[in-house]
């Protein structure tokens, strides 16, 4: 039996809506909790797919008998579960910060996983059961599943830009219900009284949802996030909220107690701060818009921060401000009379806030003749810029974003290659200035120095002659000069530091008695690190350091990964005294997620499988095949996402804008794989195993070509216009994705012919593998880089060719 066009459309809508829901959950949990926990929660919730496979495997005969009713029930439950499970999960008092002390938090955590797995379970039931029911049409069904997901990945980005997250949470279930309504209305599977009954149920559910849910769709933001804490101050409120895939921006005003945001301000400063509005991203990562009326006297504090250093050393004309945000670095440049300022900000809504909504408050900052605002990712702009600058400046003063739990996210701003890009855009004598919030014991700055030093050496420079490092009580500013630091600069540096109690930590020729004077550390750690890292012994220093301060590269762009296994025992021995902050737990959380996923998969998969095998009839039927099927679909599930993730990383660098790049790559892969699956269904004269072999060989050839000539390809693509770049990227992805779309339906069709009882198992195993895959991929990329990740994926595909679950007759013929 083949599914009709209407059925395929419903599958596509469900698949698209579910993928959109997954992205939406990630956004919602990043807002109410923290990004890293959001990542873990959503990864684990996908276990719902695996559980569905097991459920269908055990109950397939029963559910298959009542196929139309089961499909509609699942569809209805999916629609209901989408908003309700989120509301339920966010109402639990889960607070990750208390995990160490409160065992109940572990229970809440587990319950959050379970609740959020529910919608994915229903969605997977629909698709998995359809694959089983329409086994002759597996390639077409799988194609519509993938194509729907491709549409979902693009659609959710468009939605996140245009409507609020709460509205999307209502829209997605309505889409699912609509798809159900269309299906019931036009398919012959539902007839007579049943048809009317289902139509009424779907309509009533949609109406009930639209009328009853909106008031309860309040985001329950953790009270420990910075924004929640600010909102406890009397007469403080949110003025505006803008949502996009890059995060929810909230502008907050405090009318009774003025906001005073001046990180890195000298301890000697007595400057009054101007009126300010806070801007939060995902209720965290605060920055501020300062009132500016053209009078620089009122912005005096900007001259008293450690980031003002470059302006003290010489006259600065051309400035490039990366990650300009709400514009305080731009204001600083204006205050020091820079003639031309290029301000680069990735988030268009942040630019709109300053350029439109609060333009008057910010003194038309982004419309001033000296200021050119560019909406772009910072690294992309820096690598493409045609001008050269006296100063390229970046400030990362928000506590979020660097180190600790963020270690699992890639960061292309602080890699050896990025530093080379910035350096090459400096005029002779120009500076790169990077200001960071100080972490103790030092790890961000030492790693940055190691990264900069490697970049400069590769350009034939002598880093020990080009660097200056100062620190305030809470910030550290690193200056990298295109040229040797002069005596005059050193004398101005000393004067500035003395005037504002900034500590000297490094300049060419610094002596030990000049450091650690105003803001004393137990040892002059920053001086020690800088001098060691700029000496011939840098390698030994990096090896001996208790944190990972290896330079980050584009192949391993995990700047914030500071974790070292060797240090773990020492930290654990100090746990009672409060050493947890040393743990750099992002890496460990990722590992914890992997272990959770593995344990859950084993429990949820192997236990039922064991029970199933005990049933004699099935054992006799499937014994020779089941291990092969398990291994084949597990390898496929891992490999598909490994390749996708490796290519996302490579293309993000070429396509620049992370959101668009990731969406393009994912949609490209899904689209191509869907087409591959569809065409596989049409080619009947070639044996499936041969097709899989050919596809895998082609994938290997393509991957090797792409990886070995990555430099040439990226140089070529970077020279093209935005449109052409995206077009070429898609063209590169299509053949690869096409090949990746074959192995799944090929083996499924084989099973469909002779071992249909294995179909739900294969579906479930694939589901479990897709939970483990992204976590494992990140760990492999962190440890070994993306090239190794891709190689592992290709080996897994080769393994899959070998494991192809053909029956004995076909294997004899192969």
């Amino acid at each position: 039996m083949h599914p009709g066009a209407g059925y395929l459309l419903t599958i596509a809508v469900i698949s698209g809506a579910t993928l959109a829901y997954e992205v939406l959950l990630l956004r919602l949990f990043s807002m109410i909790q923290w990004h890293h926990f959001a990542f873990m929660i959503i990864s684990l919730a996908l276990l719902g797919y695996g559980v569905s496979g097991v459920f269908l495997a055990l109950a397939r005969q029963g559910v298959s008998r009542y196929f139309p009713a089961v499909i509609m029930t699942n569809l209805l439950l999916l629609a209901l579960a989408m908003p309700l499970c989120f509301l339920l999960a966010q109402s639990l008092p889960f607070n990750p910060a208390e995990l160490l002390w409160d065992p109940w938090q572990l229970v809440y955590w587990l319950v959050v996983y379970l609740i959020l797995a529910v919608p994915f379970f229903f969605a997977a039931n629909i698709i998995g059961l359809s694959l089983y029911q329409f086994r002759q049409g597996i390639p077409t069904l799988y194609a519509s599943d993938l194509l729907g997901a491709a549409l979902g990945s693009v659609g959710i980005i468009a939605l996140l830009f245009s409507i609020s997250v709460e509205q999307i949470l209502l829209l997605l279930p309505c889409l699912v219900l609509l798809a159900g309504l269309l299906l019931v209305s036009q398919s012959s599977l539902w007839a007579g009284r049943h048809k009317l009954g289902w139509q009424m149920t779907l309509l009533v559910t949609a109406a009930a949802m639209l009328f009853l849910l909106p008031p309860s769709l309040q985001l329950n933001v953790s009270s420990y996030k910075s924004m929640s804490q600010m909102l406890t101050v009397p007469k403080t409120g949110v003025l505006q909220r803008e949502s996009s895939p890059l995060g929810v921006l909230s502008v907050v005003e405090s009318s009774q107690v003025p906001l005073r945001y001046a990180p890195g301000l000298s301890i000697l400063s007595d400057a009054e701060l101007p009126e300010q509005l806070a801007v939060f991203t995902d209720a965290e990562a605060m920055t501020a818009i300062s009132r500016f009326d053209g009078d620089f006297e009122k912005l005096g504090f900007l001259g008293q921060t450690s980031s003002a250093l470059p302006y003290q050393l010489k006259r600065i004309e051309d400035v490039l401000v990366l990650e300009a945000g709400a514009g305080s670095d731009v204001l600083q440049a204006l205050m020091f009379e820079a003639a031309a300022i290029d301000a680069v900000e990735e988030n268009p809504q942040m630019i709109d806030l300053i350029q439109d909504d609060y333009a008057e408050f910010a003194g038309e900052l982004y419309s001033l003749p000296q200021v050119n605002v560019h909406q772009s990712e910072a690294r992309a702009f820096a690598s493409k810029a045609e001008r050269q600058y006296d100063l390229i400046t970046m400030s990362f003063l928000s506590a979020a974003g660097v180190g600790g739990l963020y270690s699992m996210s890639e960061n292309y701003l602080f890699t050896v290659e990025a530093m080379r890009d910035y350096f090459q855009h400096l005029k002779p004598g120009g500076y790169i200035s990077i200001t960071q919030q100080t972490t103790l014991p030092p790890r961000v700055m030492p790693k940055l120095i190691a990264t900069v030093s490697t970049a400069l050496k590769s350009l034939g420079r002598t880093p020990s002659q080009n660097l200056i490092l100062i620190r305030s009580w809470q910030t550290t500013t690193l200056l990298v000069k295109n040229g040797a630091v002069s005596d005059q600069e050193i004398s101005r540096l000393k004067q500035f530091s003395q005037q504002y109690n900034f500590d000297l930590a490094y300049y060419p020729g610094i002596s030990a008695d000049e450091v650690n004077r105003y803001h004393q550390l137990q040892q002059p750690y920053f001086y020690q690190a800088a001098t060691a890292l700029l000496s011939a012994q840098s390698g030994k220093f990096i090896d001996d350091y208790k944190f990972n301060i290896q330079p980050a590269t584009d192949n391993q762009p995990y700047f914030s990964q500071f974790f070292k296994w060797e240090t773990l025992p020492e930290i654990l021995s100090l746990l009672d005294a409060g050493s947890l902050f040393l743990l750099e737990s992002g890496y460990l959380l990722l590992l914890a997620a992997l272990i959770q996923a593995l344990v859950a998969s084993l429990l949820l998969l192997l236990l039922p499988l064991w029970l199933w095998r005990r049933r004699r009839r099935d054992r006799e039927k499937a014994q020779p095949l089941h291990k092969r099927v398990l291994a084949y679909f597990f390898a496929l599930g891992l490999a598909f996402l490994f390749v996708e993730i490796a290519f996302i990383q490579k293309f993000v660098l070429i396509l620049h804008h992370p959101v668009y790049a990731v969406t393009t790559v994912i949609a490209g892969f899904l689209l191509a794989a869907g087409t591959g699956s569809y065409l596989f269904g049409r080619i009947r004269h070639i044996h499936p195993q041969h097709q899989v072999l050919a596809a895998v060989l082609l994938m290997i050839i393509l991957s090797v070509v792409y990886m070995s000539s990555y430099g040439t390809i990226s140089a070529f693509l970077l020279a093209q216009s935005d449109l052409l770049r995206y077009l070429f990227a898609i063209l590169m992805i299509l053949p690869l994705g096409f090949c990746m779309g074959l192995p799944f339906p090929a083996a499924m069709s084989m099973l469909g012919r002779e071992h249909d009882e294995m179909i739900p198992w294969a579906w479930g195993i694939n589901g479990f593998a897709s939970v483990i895959s992204p976590i494992l991929a990140t760990l492999i990329a962190m440890e070994f880089g993306f090239r190794v990740l891709l190689s592992v994926a290709l080996v897994l595909y080769l393994l899959a060719v070998w494991l192809f679950p053909a029956d004995s007759a076909s294997r004899q013929s192969v």
Binding site: Q229, V257, A262, Q523, F581
Partner: protein, 249 residues
């Protein structure tokens, strides 16, 4: 028969769980003093063992005594009372916490207080830190920005007999001009810069302590010292002894 046995066992287990939950605070109530003694001894021992930022290497006996005297459970919300004597921060509502006893001990120790000192606290929170200070000095002034917390802390401090703590709801940025200067200032919430007025209200020779980090995890402590010549110096201190460098360089 199996079913009814199962049901009976479940009911029994449920009863045990309910009684354990409802009893535990009651049991704890009687032992609060013992628990406090044990906790503070443990904190002191941990700090000694990890060679944290103590100079000399032990907690000041007066601080130790103060910590052993102040009933922390009186400053903890009802539902967390049974956890009052664990070395952990606890939520007190409004996104705030009552600090971890080890951190309270460290911060108080860093102030090197004399009985005649006048101390200003920015961020009353639960009132617990103010109570510890009140055990050590004659006068404590404390400002809290969140009205509900300010009100609750004032009530709890009065109830527990700390009449030498004067509280106020308001903005701590400008300190407490009428009562200035202070021998010591303690800022219990992380700040992105040190308010200049606070430094002005610190006596020459005075000390100020600021924790840096999140509500549940202090990353490091900043000790601000105003010299007799009114120069300002800071010390950045880790709560545990941890040297990032090893070997010789």
């Amino acid at each position: 028969m199996t079913l009814s046995y199962l049901r009976r066992s479940l009911v029994f287990l449920l009863l045990i769980a309910i009684s354990a939950l409802s009893l535990s605070p009651g049991i704890a109530q009687e032992n609060f003093e013992q628990q406090r003694e044990a906790l503070i001894e443990e904190v002191a021992e941990d700090l000694r063992r990890s060679e944290a930022i103590l100079e000399p290497t032990e907690l000041d006996p007066r601080v130790l005594r103060a910590m052993k005297t102040v009933p922390r459970h009186e400053y903890v919300p009802e539902k967390h009372k049974h956890q009052a004597y664990r070395n952990r921060p606890l939520p007190i509502g409004y996104g705030q916490t009552i600090s971890q006893p080890a951190i309270v001990a460290l911060m108080t120790n860093l102030l090197e207080l004399e009985p005649s000192d006048k101390v200003l606290e920015i961020g009353t929170g639960s009132g617990y830190q103010a109570a510890v200070l009140a055990e050590l000095v004659d006068q404590v002034f404390s400002i809290e920005i969140v009205p509900e917390l300010a009100e609750r802390a004032a009530r709890d401090l009065k109830r527990t007999g700390y009449n030498n703590v004067t509280t106020r709801q308001g903005d701590g940025y400008y300190g407490w001009e009428e009562q200035a200067p202070f021998d010591a200032i303690i800022v219990t919430a992380a700040a992105d810069h040190i308010p200049p007025r606070l430094l002005k209200q610190l006596k020459p020779g005075g000390r100020m302590v600021i924790p840096v980090g999140s509500r549940f995890m202090v990353q490091h402590l900043v000790l601000v010292k105003k010299t007799e010549d009114s120069d300002i110096l800071t010390e950045q201190l880790l709560p545990v002894q941890f040297v990032p460098l090893t070997g010789e360089h």
